[in-house]
Amino acid sequence: MVSTEKPQYRVIGTSPVRPDGVDKVTGRAEYGADIKLEGLLYGAVLRSPHAHAVIKRIDTSKAAALPGVKAVVINADFPAQASGDLDLGEGRANPMWLVDNVLAGSKVLYHGHAVAAVAATDLHVAEDALALIEVEYEVLPAVIEVREAMLETAPVLHPELRTNVRARGAPAAADRPTNVALHMRVEKGDVAAGFAEADVVIEREFTTSQFHQGYIEPQNATAFWNRDGEVTVWTSTQGAFSVRDQVAALLKVGVGHIKVVPMEIGGGFGGKINVYLEPVAALLSRKTGRPVKMWMPRADVIRATGPTSSTFNRVKIGAKKDGTITAIHAYLAYAAGAYPGSSVGAGVSCATAPYSLDNVLIDGFDVVTNTPKTAAYRAPGAPASEYAVEATLDEVAEALEMDKMDLRLKNAAKEGATNAMGQPLAKIGAVEVMQAVKSHPHYTSEIQGEDIGRGVAMGFWFNGGMETSSSATVYQDGTVGLVLGSTDIGGTRASLAMQLAENLGLTMEDIKPQVVDTDTVGYTAVTGGSRTTFAGGWVAYDLGEDIKKRLVDRAARIWSVPVDQVRYEDGGVSGPAAEDGSARRLSFQEIAGKLQGSGGLIAVSATSRRNTQGAAFAGHIVDVHVDRETGKVSILRYTAIQDVGTAIHPAYVEGQIQGGVVQGIGMALNEEYYYDDEGHMLNASLLDYRIPVANDVPMIETVLVEVPNPGHPYGVRGVGEVPIVPPQPAIRNAVADAIGVKLYHTPMTPARILDELLPRE
């Protein structure tokens, strides 16, 4: 670990076994689909075979008549929705579009769009019933590709949609139907003047495929609408409160009547924030009076949830001979899928963020297409725009005959400089990360062998703050119960318990964390946005401060001494010496044992809304081999360097980085949505979509650079998202180095590489 100004910690920086570990290695941990309730019904969803069609008629009578079928629902069973704005925690949603995505309204807008749902006594019966639902479609032409969707001649998804122009200096939108939902612009300085100063100007165009989050656990939901009107939803989600609020909005039920019980979650990566099945299961339960469990077949997960935007991005960079970047102009077009709301905003904000620039102009477009409505995916929006910038930057370095890291260091973002939006940067580790890349033995080593190349790239992600609540109770045996609203997606219980333990001078094992339902803890935003260890850590710290203060008060009362003479230190309370000269000292465990007899046990709660999260920077180095016969790219060595602030649980920080890197490798090399000319999605299975498997990748070396975040008591920065940003450009740059062929599309599949290598006919 590379570390600066790090205090001595006792718990932070160790890697204990997680509190929920034994349940997860013995199969006892209860994920959403594992739930069993008395009288349980099974739900299944009928989906559209067309990418774009008007629903002329739905007849569910034959399905409803099948023995064992208890209810059938369609879009019309939901209350009507007006246009609005729902905060999902990582992204927003318009309830009018959200309800139509959950069950299609007058049109289906993508292959796999949900049309109707059935509840039956047995899953097989429910599936049989789907085949009995008659739907008459009027098929319309579909548009899949983002640039085609922007053409005036393109099929229109939403006739009422007009472009929302939030771009100073851009022409106002015409009052005619369009697929372009948003045109936004970020501008700083004068790019024309910047390009005029440049010695080298390079402009390139890039496209990226849609990528799916690829969590191994399919979406699931179980709901019970009791006959007193109280609704309970059990689901695997990144945000129980977000699910509650979405279900409440779609069903027009007050949030106080909906309890969401977060089950263990089998991966999310941003994809388990939007609701899909929860409101449908609730409707089916209302109709039947029985609990209804649903989970998605894998093909539905791929066709109808997630994915990222496919994108088209043009980047123009001007630089002087000494490497100073004089201007960057970017044009980013992101496919939102069936309804507006891609992550192009974050793509715009992040595109040039690793660098301090005087002249930047970035236009972003949010465009609807006949593909699944996109959802957040790990640093949503950032990988595509930063890929385009980092790949173009490599060509600038080549034109200037400059070391690739020297060019980046020359322009590195620094504390006090402003980003493209003109906001000043807080203390960040961009320079430290770039220097660590440049001096790393991987970067300085010789490349040996034929068709082997090396690439580097930087990455940036904001990280989130947002609202988190927790409560804690000191038990009489000296342990502390810690109640969390943040679902544990990969070590949350451990990382938050460790921060409370650190503050109280206890061990992680003394803290008993549990994740609870929405009736049992204060509002907590999603586990996402790399915010959980940061915001949850702040709350754990606040709880610790409160507990320490109360223990000091109690000790003063027990000892009959003034409060200001009692201190909390080294995991216990110390007071002034007694009259006989003996030291007054009670360990945490000792005073915990005296609480009941001296005024009662201590219970505290806290909420944090701090937004001092601190940004994350990453720099990756990769060596690849390209097989000229097959076009296959093999990753030979991979080093991921990242400013992690303070690593609370280093093994889990490494795991986040390694996992993010391998997802990025999938984007770079194999993962892709294939559509036919009518817009049918053709590869809806994990191995046809092709997420990386164990023998696709080597060990991923990590270097944790620790530049503590001054906005957090333990210096925490979010770590989870930024590692997915650099792999696409780093591998693309490495392939170019290996075989001298520059690619402008990800994934760089064997077929695309062979296309470049084989002689043209």
Binding site: A33, G659, S685, L686, I691, N695
Partner: protein, 163 residues
């Protein structure tokens, strides 16, 4: 195997326990385990043999339980994640997965543990490459496989050392 009006009666041995259960002809072994026997440690990730989250041993052979019909286990021996720990003791692989932080969300973990157990039964000291090829049928989206492979190699060393 007896066919009744309600389905078929299947007699098998699960984790050493003689077990009789009623299943539909269409039930996969995974469905029978999860929905009929309430043994939910085996997970459904794909239901088509891609992901390995439902891995079990059938007469000692590693299979995806989603690709086996429940009716096929008549008279067979099935070993699932629920039978991996013995008494108070975790299996060395389970311990190694915890110590090496080889799980994040944990949904793929039961399948990886069952598949790794089968690997070590066949090849007690696999190389990294052998472990990666054997486990290529188990998908993990969280870890990037690094810590899983380390955990398997560590457990192999411990178990082989005790032989």
């Amino acid at each position: 195997m007896t066919t009744t009006e309600d389905g078929i009666l299947i007699r098998t041995t699960i984790n050493g326990d003689p077990t009789t259960f009623l299943a539909s002809q269409r039930d996969s072994l995974l469905e029978a385990l999860r929905e009929r026997l309430n043994m939910t440690g085996s997970k459904e990730g794909c239901n088509n043999g891609n992901c390995g989250a439902c891995s079990v041993l059938l007469d000692g052979r590693l299979v995806n339980s989603c690709l086996v019909l429940a009716a096929e286990v008549e008279g067979a021996r099935v070993d699932t994640i629920e039978g991996m720990a013995e008494g108070e003791q975790l299996h060395p692989l389970q311990r190694a997965f915890l110590e090496e932080a080889a799980l994040q969300c944990g949904i793929c973990t039961p399948g990886f543990l069952v598949a790794s157990r089968a690997l070590l039964a066949e090849n007690p000291r696999p190389t990294e490459e052998e472990a990666r090829f054997w486990l290529a049928g188990n998908l993990c989206r969280c870890t990037g496989y690094d810590k899983i492979i380390r955990a398997v190699l560590k457990a192999a060393g411990e178990m082989d050392g005790k032989r």
